[in-house]
């Protein structure tokens, strides 16, 4: 291997493969200040990761409390109806604004994007740190709201209830406003990085698909989030100053609030899923040991999803009082937005066809994703049909649908990406056995929890309801058992990953045989990412890498260029 690549160069196998105990970004600079004031995208990514996982845990606690209450249909000693309203509101708000919107871009994207570009950092490192601190500020405001009376409006904050309810709406809404800016600035940073920091030889269509996914996400973050910003500002003005823009008694229009709210919140769900799809594109190629199928279609579909996502927001308002004309237009457009997603799924499956499937933990998450996102996406089409939506709106069917896409889609892909990049980020391999056990528990627990909700919803069980009819009790109990299984699965995953940090086998530079640039530097990477800027090649040329038993990882195939 006559390359002057220090990781895979003539210095011998193993030289520079694992940097634990040597100079890496984790050991570069010590003390709290070196972390809190860091400009290193890798450290910022790790801080985000810890923060959003903590938020996921908090949101999960709310979920388990809700599910525990729902074991019985009537009043419960666990919580009263008002508290229940606060529980589902907070579960939604925390999960959406603190966990899943920042989610993959902040925790994984921040770490991986510059590495995939062969760059030393994102375009604006100080803005990156500022984005993180804005997240923290938003989170603190949200926690303050929880501590001072919480919110019981549902995460959607519909007027006129949200403008008149006696709850800490302003604090929560202010928190979400600040979080919105965190999201906008992350998107801004990624767009400029992708435009300006690509290396020689990496044209747009030689870029990894994860970056296409992040780019599409960033378009939405930039264009949609400000509308949420103005919506929340108007909501605060309405509550604090009585502006009257959404109050019918003052000549205002509550439906206008919904237009404003959903113009952001529908594209927001694509902020959630596009990065996840990007992760899957990376994993499916590596773990099928085969070049991705249909690169151009997958890349362009990310942009198509980003654009079309702006055209469908009214499908949340079919029964809200929206005119028939607008409802019909939105219904037709909703059917259109499924097409680019389907294009991706077909290309991923085609990638697996005649590949050499390696059922490592990340691949189990890929398979879960295909199944769960397939169901979630298809049920979205049911809801997009006007006549059907009249019956299914505000039932558990909707709840099941969005959990299948957000949880079964984004969270599963997030877990897959986490398990894929964990060795790179921390230089340690985790136990494959327990990784697979965790993946299995999550899959079984998830379906138990949420498939029952599809059935329940199709029988008319309303959502957001403290009391429910006794005929639904068995469904609810089954769903709750599923949620406990889910909790156990996450416990297994958490213990496995944390244990790996201390006791895991030191990871080689390329444990999985990926062909993207982050695998060309040590695990964990040095502070400056690369000793010398790597030359970009085909990001899916996985067949150019061969497994080395002695190393326990992949090295460039002899005779090949390794690029």
């Amino acid at each position: 291997m006559a390359t002057n690549d220090p990781v895979f160069g003539a210095g011998g196998l193993g030289a520079g493969q694992n940097a634990l105990g040597g100079d890496n970004y984790l050991s570069h600079g010590h003390g709290l200040k070196s972390w809190l004031l860091t400009l290193d995208h890798k450290r910022i990514g790790v801080m985000y990761l810890v923060s959003i996982l903590a938020s996921f845990f908090l949101g999960g606690i709310f979920a388990l409390l809700i599910r525990t209450k729902l074991l019985t249909p009537g009043s419960s000693a666990l919580m009263d109806a008002n508290t229940y309203n606060q529980m589902f509101t907070l579960h939604g708000a925390v999960m959406i604004f603190l966990f899943i919107i920042p989610g993959i871009p902040a925790a994984l994207g921040n770490f991986v994007l510059p590495l995939m570009l062969g760059a030393k950092d994102v375009a604006f490192p100080r803005l990156n740190l500022a984005s993180y601190y804005m997240w923290v500020a938003g989170a603190l405001l949200a926690l303050l709201s929880i501590a001072t009376g919480a919110v019981d409006t549902g995460w959607t904050f519909y007027t006129p209830y949200s403008t008149t309810t006696n709850a800490s709406v302003i604090t929560m809404v202010a928190g979400v406003f600040v979080l919105g800016f965190s999201s906008i600035f992350t998107g801004l940073n990624f767009v400029v990085s992708i435009h300006k920091l690509r290396p020689e030889g990496m044209s747009w269509f030689r870029m990894p698909l994860f970056l296409w996914g992040l780019y599409g996400t960033a378009i939405i973050q930039i264009m949609a989030t400000p509308v949420l910003g103005i919506t929340l500002l108007l909501l605060i003005a309405e509550r604090a100053l009585g502006v009257g823009i959404f109050d019918p008694s003052l000549g205002g229009d509550p439906i206008l609030f919904q237009h404003f709210f959903w113009f952001y919140s529908h594209p927001a769900v694509y902020i959630m899923i596009l990065p996840a799809m990007g992760v899957i594109s990376e994993l499916v190629s590596v773990f099928s040991r085969k070049h991705i199928f249909g690169y151009t279609f997958i890349a362009l579909s990310s942009i198509a999803i980003a654009v079309i996502s702006f055209l469908v927001w009214g499908h949340h308002m079919f029964v809200a009082g929206q005119s028939n004309l607008a409802s019909m237009i939105f219904s037709a457009l909703t059917f259109m937005v499924a097409i680019p997603s389907a294009v991706k799924v077909f290309n991923w499956v085609a990638t697996m066809y005649k590949g050499s499937i390696w059922l490592a933990t990340p691949m189990l998450y890929v398979l879960s994703f295909l199944f769960l996102f397939g169901i979630g996406g298809l049920t979205g089409l049911f809801l997009g049909a006007l006549a059907v939506d009249v019956h299914l709106h505000d039932t558990y069917f909707v709840v099941a649908h969005f959990h299948y896409v957000m949880f079964g889609g984004t969270v599963i892909a997030f877990l897959g990406g986490l398990h894929y990049w964990w060795p790179k980020m921390f230089g340690r391999m985790y136990s494959e056995l327990w990784g697979r056990v965790g993946a299995l528990l999550v899959f079984v627990g998830f379906n138990t929890t949420f498939f029952t909700q599809f059935v329940m919803g199709s029988h008319g069980a309303p959502r957001r309801s403290y009391h429910y009819l006794p005929e639904f009790q068995t469904y609810h109990q089954l769903s709750t058992i599923g949620s406990y299984l889910l909790g156990m699965g996450f416990l297994v995953i958490a213990v496995n990953l944390v244990h790996a940090l201390f006791r895991g086998r030191p990871a080689p530079a390329n444990p999985w045989g990926g062909a993207t640039l982050e695998w060309r530097t040590s695990s964990p990477p040095p502070h400056d990412n690369f000793a010398a800027t790597p030359v970009a090649g085909d990001p899916y040329d996985v067949e150019a890498w061969a497994f080395d038993r002695q190393l326990g990882g992949f090295v460039p195939r002899a005779g090949g260029s390794g690029s």
Binding site: V122, A123, H195, M223, V227, L233, V243, G244, L250, G251
Partner: protein, 270 residues
Amino acid sequence: MTNSKGESVAEAHGGHLAHHFDTAEQQFESGKLGMWIFLATEILLFGGLFCAYAVYRSSHPEIFLYAHRYLDKTLGAINTAVLICSSFTMAWAVRCAQLGRRKALVRLLAATIALAGCFLGIKYVEYEHKWKEGLLWGKRFHAKLEQPAAPVVASPVPTPSVNPEERSLIAPAAEGPKGLAKPGQRPLWETGTGGPPKNLQTFFAVYFTMTGLHGIHVIAGMVLLTLMLLRARRGEFGPAYFTPVDLAGLYWHLVDLVWIYLFPLLYLIR
């Protein structure tokens, strides 16, 4: 670390080049692109308010027509001219920064800030007048409205066209104060005798949110430009490095752009 041209990155461009950029041009263009993306987000922020304006003016043009007469067109026009001049001094300041003319840069930045202050001063005068007259938004509206010289004609109540044969068999609800209005009765929000339309506060809600958000952006701009002024006085800007002034200028021009649309939409309604 060496850049793609093989030279030490730190040497290129006397220390203004950040470690993660290869060339000054790459850094400059990245900064510009980043700023334009931020301006795009500001467009969308104000866009929501333009949407509210469109929706309410479309369904209640009589409110907008009547209420906008309380705005002073002259002050509005003067403010427009003030902002245009401040945009001119800002663009000129950027030019001076690019050419290394430090004194002129400082003076022009100061002029821009002064004109912005002038804008806010005139806005204060306008707001004070509205406050005194009670011409405020939503719940705070308590103006004493004068009777217009010519009566405002309320539009007639359209009778729904229902085919008598298809009339429902369900008995209609009772008429009365808590039930249906009597057929042909004027809706409550119309004053049958003419006079100012109801819900004038809707116009002022839109007016104050739009000009208020714009005003906040003017204040933020003044803070930003003051920071630029202080840095310019220290001689930090010149042909080698003027990006912050350029980017601050872009922001300032956006503030002007928004007002260019606000002025006719709020002050010049027919």
